[in-house]
């Protein structure tokens, strides 16, 4: 059960608080009384304090006192407006929440219900600190990758060089094709492959799509890929995926 304490002089708020269903509100006029009210009830472990905003310096003194002397309180500042500097000061001295002084009985009750439903978490002083964990590749794995990839590149280099020369002779354009891949920790890197398509493959496809015949589909693919594509595909699987990209 959460106790409710009101600290202030607003008769209208006092009147509304009297009508809260199932709640016994303790009305206090100064922070000493309020602190006493928040500690004297043995059956209540937690208290919600409705604090009527007054002069800032006095409010800071009162709220700081309450925070220091009462454990397990949730302080709601009754105010309809807070300017920039006020926000920081009131937040700094320990205000949890705010509510319009003109709040109806329903709104007051809604606020109380919100806090009551989450009592175990809201009154727990522990704040969860979550850190976004990043996967760290072990050093031995990194060294293993680099050494093995390097050996792989050296052994396969004759085949790779021949493939590169063949691609260069067969069609215009670069030997390697860069493709984006998502790596460790979602880092995007350039994945290198031997180029297996013409650089103007898309234009060729558009032209071919105009030719409507039963072999069109097969022809389209044939016209997009180079003659060395099968060779490149074989080589890139052995070299690119296993070696260079692993080093990167």
């Amino acid at each position: 059960m959460i106790g409710v304490v009101y600290l202030g002089n607003n008769s209208q708020t006092e009147e509304r608080l009297k009508y809260l269903p199932g709640r016994q509100v303790k009305f206090t006029k100064n922070y000493m009384e309020a602190a006493d009210a928040c500690t004297s009830h043995s059956r209540n472990e937690h208290f919600i304090v409705f604090y009527e905003k007054n002069v800032r310096t006095e409010d800071v003194t009162a709220i700081t006192y309450l925070r220091k002397h009462c454990e397990g309180i949730y302080v709601i500042l009754m105010t309809d407006q807070l300017a920039g500097e006020d926000r920081q000061i009131y937040q700094g001295c320990g205000i949890n929440d705010t509510l319009d002084p003109k709040a109806t009985v329903t709104e007051l009750n809604k606020k109380l219900q919100f806090i009551s439903d989450r009592e175990s978490i809201l009154f727990d002083n522990q704040v969860t600190k979550k850190r976004i964990l990043r996967f760290k590749i072990p050093l031995w794995k990194r060294i293993f990758d680099i050494i093995c990839s390097f050996i792989g590149i050296v052994i396969l280099s004759p085949i790779l060089i021949i493939t590169a020369i063949a691609i260069k002779i067969e069609s215009k354009g670069p030997v390697l094709f860069k493709s984006k891949r998502v790596g460790t920790n979602y880092k995007i890197f350039d994945f290198l492959k031997f180029r297996s398509m013409y650089t103007d493959a898309e234009e060729r496809l558009k032209e071919l799509s105009k030719a409507n015949n039963q072999y069109g589909e097969h022809q389209e693919e044939d016209q997009k890929t180079t003659l060395t594509a099968p060779l490149g595909a074989e080589a890139e699987q052995t070299m690119m995926e296993m070696a260079w990209n692993r080093i990167c």
Partner: protein
């Protein structure tokens, strides 16, 4: 000093992806639900922007949005809502509560970053 963004999402993957895109320009803090967000704010933290999912355990994103927009201490903080529901009525409802923007999942992180930059220019 980098501006601070609070991400509220129960899925760590979303938080990771967002942090990768935002970390270069902003300080990013991630919490798994709205209630932890409330406690974090009450502990004296004030982010410059909040990006919140809607369906979360503990406290839903729309309840969190309602709480923050009724709170004079934090109502000035802009909130971008992430939702898997692409419905006009849902969008209107959240914008009416006070959300700054509404992004439908799955989203392009680059698009989100541009929207964040519009709200929080460096």
């Amino acid at each position: 000093m980098k501006k601070k963004i609070l991400i509220l999402d129960d899925k760590e993957t979303i938080a990771k992806v967002l942090s990768i895109y935002l970390m270069s320009d902003y300080e990013v803090q991630w919490l798994p639900d709205g209630l932890q967000g409330v406690k974090w704010l009450q502990a004296g933290n004030t982010p410059d922007l909040i990006i919140s999912d809607i369906r979360m355990p503990g406290m839903r994103g729309d309840d969190f949005l309602e709480w923050i927009k009724q709170n004079e201490l934090f109502r000035h903080i802009p909130v971008i809502m992430l939702s898997s529901e692409d419905s006009t009525s849902e969008r209107i409802r959240l914008l009416e509560i006070g959300a700054e923007d509404y992004i439908v999942k799955p989203f392009n992180p680059m698009e989100l970053k541009i929207r964040v930059k519009k709200i929080l220019p460096n």
